[in-house]
């Protein structure tokens, strides 16, 4: 199934719009694979809250989980959807207006 870049970006930005979800992703990026209990302790968010946010992040493809043996489920952050959203941001960050203003100024008055 081919993911749609617009849908991927939309779910990334929706996931990142919440302070707690940003904190969870930042914590996974900083500390690596963690359990819900690790995250709950680190971020002072209830385990139920962590579980709810992890489910949403998993739906957005931003988090994967694997059972690391027994009942210890490890969550890790996944960067691919972020890279898709990055190209959206790149389109918004492209500064052609600034560059072309400088081109027009250079053509009008080239340094001698």
């Amino acid at each position: 199934m081919r993911p749609d870049p617009e849908e991927v970006s939309a779910s990334v930005f929706a996931a990142l719009a919440d302070t707690n979800r940003r904190a969870i992703l930042a914590s996974l990026a900083e500390h690596g694979a963690s359990t819900a209990t690790d995250l709950s302790g680190r971020l002072s968010i209830t385990r139920q809250g962590i579980a709810k946010h992890l489910a949403l992040l998993a739906d957005a493809g931003l988090v994967t989980s694997d059972a690391g043996g027994g009942r210890r489920v490890l969550y890790r952050h996944r960067s691919e959807p972020i890279k898709v959203a990055q190209s959206y941001l790149a389109a918004l960050a492209a500064d052609w207006d600034g560059s072309l203003d400088r081109l027009a100024a250079f053509l009008a008055d080239p340094p001698r």
């Binding site: 996944r78 691919e80 890279k83 990055q86 190209s87 790149a90 072309l100 081109l103």
Partner: protein
């Protein structure tokens, strides 16, 4: 709203095509209005390396695709902000046409909405396996020590 795949700007310049062409396709021209440093060769199949001093010394490599004198200059470069090794490229084209008062310049950058799914899968698996391989080598090294 869909991701804007293409950015387009049109400029009517009161300068002859030769002058605009020179500003676009010489290293001296490119460093006057675009980046702060440029080296390489502005010819199809060659690369021009550019640096932007004012942007934290950001660097980019322009893979020159089209140099059609006085009319089309085009190159590909990486997506701004993407991590090193990201294979995605956007295509930038400068098209010139004469007008009564000078030159019309149309700049088009396209490819922002590309999502090469083969890349998504290949790269994700590649990275995962790359890490596994590297960590495996580290373990072997530590075991041997």
């Amino acid at each position: 709203m869909p991701i804007p795949n293409t950015i387009t700007r049109t400029l009517d310049l009161a300068h002859p095509q030769e002058k605009v062409w020179g500003a676009l396709t010489t290293l001296g021209g490119l460093t006057a209005w675009f980046g702060s440093h440029a080296d390489g060769e502005v010819a199809p199949g060659h690369d021009v390396h550019m640096r932007w001093e004012k942007e934290n010394n950001m660097e980019s490599t322009l893979a020159i695709k089209v140099v059609d004198p006085m009319s089309v200059f085009a190159y590909c470069w990486g997506i701004n902000g993407a991590p090193e090794g990201d294979p995605r490229r956007t295509y930038v084209e400068f098209a010139l046409e004469p007008t009564a008062s000078g030159t019309r310049l149309t700049v088009t950058e396209s490819g922002f909405a590309q999502l090469p799914d083969e890349w998504l899968e290949a790269s994700y698996q590649g990275n995962t396996e790359g890490w596994k391989a590297e960590l495996g080598e580290l373990v072997a090294y530590l075991d041997a020590a």
